[in-house]
Amino acid sequence: MSKILLHGTEAICEGAIRNGCRAFFGYPITPQNEVPEYMSVKMPEVGGVFVQAESEVAAINMVYGAAGAGTRAMTSSSSPGVSLKQEGISYIACARIPCVIVNVMRAGPGLGGIQPAQGDYFQATKGGGHGDYHLIVLAPSSVQEACDFTYRAFDLADQYRVPVMILADGMIGQLMEPVELPPMRDLSEIPEKDWATSGHYGKERRVLNSLIIKPEELEPHVNALQETYNEIYRNERRALSYRTEDAEIVLTAYGTPARIVKSAVNELRRRGVAAGCIRPITLYPFPDDAFAACAARSCTKAFLSVELSLGQMVEDVRLAVNGKKPVYFYGRTGGNVPDEEEIVRAALDALERAEADQ
């Protein structure tokens, strides 16, 4: 199939629609307005539902209802809007309803700015709402991945009955690249949901609920959720390692910054520095195995996490490296994106510090 040129936001929509998403609920916010715009045109074409809700809170609760009835449903927003959705996300996680939530991150905190950032890593991976729960979090780094990961997100959500988040930065949303679209999936191929509140019609009564008032009932429910997260951890950790086998310095980044880091690695190699990088694809579960493998190598002297934040993923990197090697950090905020040369300098600086600290 031939490739077409798409924005990251459009690719997210195509990935969703082609894997059976038939309900979209959203509320406008920059830099993801192209998602609801595209969905408002496409959803009616495929017999789906598009609602521009009165608020982000309403939109996530519409997802709760539609996905609870068994439809593949999605909402999309950007950082401040995703904060508003957190109550609903916690309810959905507790009620074990699969759905997809897209966050095209902009700079925070507060209303912040509209340029790209990655300051919502903690919120996405550590449970942005209340209670013991997790989402599966996928981080695309190209427009093709924006499509493919969103497509995959619906299957993962259904398989584990957990909400899945696509955590993209504002650059992925705006970037245009060639994309090969997956074929449109026939809705009849999607496994039936034997828990969905899709109407009585002589079936047994089904209830989806996030209020479990008796401690002796809530604890086993939370434990069962945890068992699902453990299973997800065992099965779904994904990362791509690049030139790490002989690397002295291992850089890491996710999303678009990972591509700038890859360019920086190539430049460092040109200058004779053995550099490599790890790009986490799943942020939850965090691919700690990829980092542990590098930490165990004697050639590796240091790690450097590069983020559009003041240091969030770096905490998971430190846990994965587990004190075996020093872990350094370089980040920009406010919507600023570091260029290749800045990252090269940060890597050289990290190597120098690692040698001095020894």
Partner: protein, 178 residues
Amino acid sequence: MIRILLAGQGGQGVLSAGRFLAESGLHEGKEVSYLPAYGPEMRGGTANCAVIISEEEIASPLCTVPDVLVALNSPSFHKFASRVKSGGIIIVNGSISDSYAGRDDVSVYDIPANDLAIEAGDVRAANMVVLGALVALTHMVEEHSIINCLREKFVGKQNVFASNERAFRLGIAAVAQK
């Protein structure tokens, strides 16, 4: 790999020109990326986009040090001229900007894009004039690829297509005269 930065004022067609370029590269089977940056305004404000066309996979989509700068107005010319790679090219809209880059290690092409666009029949086609100059100077994509994109974009708007095509060809001719 060639990295192009197109910059100007919102409404000048900077982003459209970048998209034509990226679409053309894609049609020729190359790797392309197009990264726009603009403010909240529909018109006015600043707009720019980074277009990369490459035979290999594109890692960073940023264009911090462009090989070519296409500046459609004076503020973007002066803002970005210092960033262009040594030995690179600057195409500047001479109708509304001076062309003094303050450095002699780049080739500056002063193209009176607004005047040529008026000659082509539509002042809004200044973006196509500079695109013509860009393609003539770099050969990064084929002329006919751009023409095909234009035809696709302005299907059913024969007049708009015709003035844009004329503007594109005037841009090519302007370079040939330099």
